[in-house]
């Protein structure tokens, strides 16, 4: 017998369930408990960058929006810098911009929204430039282990075409499942997305 390696095993995932709001967004469950709450607004008045609204739905295999889903997003700031010590890239850090938010879908429409800024392009450790993107994590009743995907931006065609992650997707037609569409509404910039859990338009999910 060789020496044992003796690593621990990761704790198994379990579904967040239908009442995930109680723990993570108690106001949506219908009560007020914490002095300080996390939200779907990532910006403060001082945040640098173009203000955007992300707006989308998550659809099940019948095309019906999930009305009990929770999304978290994690993104770089407008200079392409993540607010984390492991990001040692050159972009300017903004301490006030955490770069993270969470939102529950509307109980009637299934709509999920975030108020944030458009992130800058990211330079990875290998020195490659990655197209601006937002990392998304999805949990809900019926989702046994959180799903990881990304949102790219429809007005970044050149950067998207060169992005090393988008280019890992074998079928070019599936790359578009990750691209949020830009529009303007009442003077506000809105990026719209639809996440398909199943079906011919199934979104690309990552094993990160």
């Amino acid at each position: 017998m060789p020496q044992p390696l003796n690593y621990l095993k990761e704790t198994a995932s379990q579904t967040a369930g239908p009442y995930v709001h109680i723990g993570l967004i108690p106001a949506m469950a219908g009560f007020d408990i914490f002095e300080k709450n996390f939200s779907n607004v990532l910006t403060t008045p001082n945040t640098e960058g173009e203000r955007i609204t992300l707006e989308g739905k998550v659809l099940d295999g019948t095309g019906t929006p999930l009305r009990d889903v929770l999304l978290e997003i994690w993104q770089a700031n407008a200079s392409g810098r993540y607010n984390h010590p492991a990001d040692r890239s050159a972009g300017a850090l903004e301490q006030e911009f955490r770069g993270w938010g969470r939102a529950g879908s509307d109980f009637e429409s299934g709509l999920v929204t975030f108020e944030t800024i458009k992130p800058g392009a990211i330079v990875d450790k290998a020195g490659r430039t990655c197209a601006p993107h937002i990392n998304v994590w999805i949990v809900a009743r019926g989702i046994n282990i959180g799903l990881n995907t990304r949102l790219y931006f429809s007005d970044e065609e050149t950067a998207n075409a060169a992005d090393p992650v988008l280019n890992l997707i074998e079928q070019p037609s599936r790359r578009s499942t990750l691209v949020a569409k830009r529009s303007e509404r009442g003077g506000k910039v809105v990026y719209s997305f639809t996440i398909h859990l199943q079906g011919p338009e199934e979104t690309v999910f990552f094993d990160v």
Binding site: P4, N6, S13, K36, G142, N144, D207
Partner: protein, 262 residues
């Protein structure tokens, strides 16, 4: 069924702990999907229409995955880890008073410091304080059912609550959830993000739960069962249960591959 073993090393081994290189900034250890429930688990009916059918696309950890949000004590309030007091209106909530404590570790056995742990649960009668829960058991006016804590420098966390009750749910006609507490944990990188559920030693509903039995590996399932920890209980006050949570470990960069002379 074995309750969760404490994260102590086997004293018979000549090397008491896994070799732990300097803190890494590489990608995380590849996730062993065989110990997690599959996305499509037909015995848990809600998973059927909510499970991707295409293969996940494997990404080696880029800066987007090895980084993640950082939280601090400023994000929390003083009663956030005390579910007996954080929603009390005119008295304590009904139920068995318990302390839940443990460590958040990574796969190398190292504590994960200063990470956010969030938890939520039903009350002692098995009813959630949630506008969508219509179970006939009553809401407890003194119990909210959620809390959060930041681990200390060693990865340790604790909170106080009442033991949640089991409750029925619509899967089969007579499906009941074992008593459980939901946990959400961050770690240092977004790729470590995890939601799970803690169960209680000796609960007879554990082996028949359609959600718990989505886990294909019996040892992985057993590790979700917290043992009674009498040594941590408060005499004449609260029993205690211990629940350690393991997040993915992180690779280190030993050598940079650069062309000689550069």
């Amino acid at each position: 069924m074995n309750a969760q073993a404490p994260a102590l090393r086997d004293p018979r081994l000549n090397r008491p702990e896994p070799l732990t290189p300097p803190l890494g900034d590489g990608g995380f250890f590849q996730r062993d999907r065989s110990i997690h429930p599959p996305a499509h688990a037909p015995g848990y009916k809600s998973s059927v229409l909510r499970s991707p059918r295409q293969s996940l696309l494997s990404l080696e950890g880029s800066v987007s995955e090895i980084t993640g949000p950082v939280f601090g004590h400023n994000d929390l309030g003083p009663l956030d880890n005390d579910l007996i007091r954080n929603y009390a209106k005119d008295g304590d909530p009904v139920g068995e008073r318990i302390i839940v404590h443990g460590r958040v570790l990574d796969e190398t056995g190292r504590g994960v410091p200063n990470t956010l742990v969030e938890f939520w649960q039903a009350n002692a009668g098995g009813r959630y304080r949630h506008k969508k829960d219509t179970y006939l058991a009553p809401v407890d006016p003194n119990f909210g059912g959620c809390g959060r804590a930041l681990t200390d420098d060693t990865g340790y966390y604790y909170f106080r609550t009442v033991k949640p009750g089991p409750y029925p749910w619509r899967n089969y006609v007579n499906s009941w959830r074992p008593a459980h507490i939901h946990f959400s944990v961050f770690g240092s990188g977004f790729a470590q993000r995890l939601i799970t559920q803690m169960y209680f030693e000796g609960d007879p509903l554990i082996p028949v739960c359609p959600i718990l039995t989505t886990i294909p590996d019996q040892d992985a399932l057993d590790r979700l069962v917290a043992p009674l920890d009498l040594n941590a209980s408060a005499p004449f006050d609260s029993l205690a249960y211990r629940f350690d949570i393991v997040l993915r470990g992180q690779r280190s960069t030993y050598f940079e591959n650069r062309t000689a002379g550069n």
